[in-house]
Amino acid sequence: MVDSGNASAPKPSSSVKLVLLGEAAVGKSSLVLRFVNNAFQENKEPTIGAAFLTQKTALPTRTIKFEIWDTAGQERFASLAPMYYRNAQSALVVYDLTKPTSLIKAKHWVAELQRQASPGIVIALVGNKLDLTKGAGGEAAALPAEEEGVEGEGEGEGDGDARKITTQEGRSYAEEEGLLFFETSAKSGVNVQEVFTAIANAIPETQMKTSRQGAGGGAGGGTQAALGSDRVNLTGGKGEAKEGCAC
């Protein structure tokens, strides 16, 4: 495989950069909070700029450390997004099942990622707020097959079904674009862990930044796949030879 044939390491560990994108108030930060702290907070304040969190996920053969960049959904922060999704190996594009415009926004994000992010980025489309839909568990089928029915607490006022986007609509779009697809509830926790596990599994091992114990020489080299020939390699040439410069 790549380098790092480190015999002593029992389970290889890799870090994966993940970015969350989506319209304001669809629950991006809440999904992260659920994933990282297994907690939920009503009326969470809007994210300013971006927030950073990490969380490990153990897979059978390796451990993944997610470096999660939770971006602000408000339009005024939209121009910041590129610096968070650049070099990201995965993205979670979130919409609100009860709000049709949020799916439109999600599609815009998917298009932007496909155009501008690293080629090969793993994108998961996530419809959140499943707890506000009727018979939350019943209809809500997510990619990894079976679904333990969830009591949708019906906190959505009036109890009715607030769902505005059918599972079918989200799923068929995701299939067209080759995205992972889930419907989640950050509030109840349904499917949240599953999203991250699915992403971890979908990232090819060769894309992982495997930990290099030796550090030292650290010729970063091949980590950023598919770079144009126009990129300058700072560690190449006779570069570093003279360290420190005139400093």
């Binding site: 890799s14 300013i48 960049w69 590129p82 610096m83 290099r212 550090a215 970063g220 390699n233 570069g239």
Partner: protein, 418 residues
């Protein structure tokens, strides 16, 4: 802003591992405006030898100069002896270099000043840097630009690396004031009460820190009356309807594709060769970036104009320079300016205002065309002051952040970079 390959920033980006998050593109050719057209400046001594337009004797003189400028020792000796002379006079007296070739060498200094205000010390330092930068990261090019919008990208990556290392960064809040608390806050004191600085943020929140660093924009500094001494630079940004491919010939075999070109209008050249210094405009620099820079759509290019503002000021000088550039090209139909803006940047003279202990003030950066080494040098001295009491970690040297076996948080000692 371009970064010479010899810049002290680049090794620091490598040792701190943040270079993995950045992309750099090569700066290609330097061009000089002469009457109505642009001429490519030979970028190396080999190019000078091959340049047919310079006669043999002049070539020998120029080569003699370039040899001196490239030598680590000789150029310093020359600075020692002639540093305070105007550069053109030095070239004339020491190398018999004609005025026309002086202009070309001046262009390589990237000096924003009139020729007579360009001192030999600065000029030789810069030409030395230019010459010794070529070839460092690949054949034929001596400078790079960060992709996706310039040096702001470096600050972003540094902030991100800080966050990954356990630092917190906060947007939209500034520092209202700082106050060194000595004794009064003894209620919940730590082991041995090191003096702490109490910082009040603009939203009223109070935090404490051992040290505070930032520029005069970040820290509350007493303002002095300096208005007249302020240096001003005019800048412009123009988006052009054509990629202007002819400005980006391949650099050399095996070199990356050029993503930037430097267009130099020598002092007075936009007035048909005005020679009276009193009325001459300062050099005008246009940095042309290709769409590969990520700063404009494909099929277009973007031009950053820069000139030191002389008196009387000439607000239209930059747009005039852009139009002259477009006229000089052969591209058909003639390229158009799709959009442009202009602004002025002020630079207060460096102050030596005293700041309280452990409050560190970075010098304001002169709004120049080139990232100068003193920026990072300044940061380094602050770094050393802050880490002095501790184990003196080597400057900007971090482990690969992928290593996650060594505990959750490795304190990188990140500073706020703003």
């Amino acid at each position: 802003m371009l970064i010479y390959n010899r810049s002290n920033l680049l090794p620091a980006l490598v040792s701190s591992k943040v270079y993995q998050q950045l992309e750099f593109l090569a700066v290609g050719s330097w061009w000089i405006y002469d009457k109505t057209t642009f001429k490519k400046i030979p970028s190396s001594r080999e190019d000078v030898v091959n340049d047919q337009s310079i006669d043999l004797r002049a070539k020998r003189n120029v080569m003699r100069f370039l040899q001196l400028a490239a030598s680590p020792e000789s150029h310093l000796a020359a600075i020692e002896e002639h540093g305070s002379e105007p550069f053109p006079a030095y070239l004339q007296s020491q190398f018999k270099i004609s005025e026309q070739l002086q202009v070309t060498l001046l262009a390589l200094t990237m000096s924003p000043n009139l020729p007579s205000n360009t001192l030999t010390s600065n000029a030789l330092t810069n030409i030395h840097r230019h010459l010794t930068s070529v070839g460092l990261f690949g054949p034929g090019f001596g400078a790079v630009i960060p992709k996706w919008g310039g040096l702001a990208e470096v600050a972003q990556v540094a902030c991100r690396a800080g966050a990954v290392g356990g630092g917190v960064y906060v947007l939209g809040r500034g520092i209202e004031n700082t106050e060194t608390t000595s004794d009064k806050e003894h209620e919940h004191d730590d082991e041995d009460a090191e003096p702490m600085i109490q910082i009040r943020l603009t939203d009223g929140e109070k935090i404490k820190s051992k040290a505070v660093g930032g520029s005069s924009y970040d820290l509350p500094v007493e303002q002095q009356d300096i208005a007249e001494e302020v240096e001003r630079v005019s800048r412009s940004i123009s988006i052009i309807s054509s990629p202007l491919d002819e400005l980006f010939p391949p650099i050399a075999e095996g070199a990356p594709l050029p993503a930037a070109a430097v267009m130099v209008f020598p002092s007075g050249s936009l007035d048909g060769g005005e020679t009276k210094e009193a009325t001459m405009h300062a050099p005008v620099h246009l940095m042309v970036h290709t769409a590969e820079s990520g700063e404009c759509p494909a099929g277009q290019c973007i031009i950053y104009g820069h000139t030191a503002t002389t008196t009387p000021s000439r607000p239209s000088l930059l747009s005039f320079a852009v139009s002259k550039l477009l006229e000089s090209l052969t591209v058909q139909p003639q390229a158009q300016v799709i959009w442009s803006m202009q602004y002025q940047q002020c630079h207060p003279p460096s102050t030596t205002s005293k700041s309280p202990d452990n409050v560190f003030l970075c010098q304001d950066i002169f709004p120049s065309l080139v990232l100068e080494d003193d920026v990072l040098r300044d940061v380094r001295s602050i770094w050393e002051s802050i880490t002095e009491k501790d184990a003196k970690p080597p400057f900007m040297t971090f482990e690969d952040r992928e290593g996650m076996d060594s505990g959750e948080k490795d304190d990188d000692g990140d500073e706020d970079i703003s």
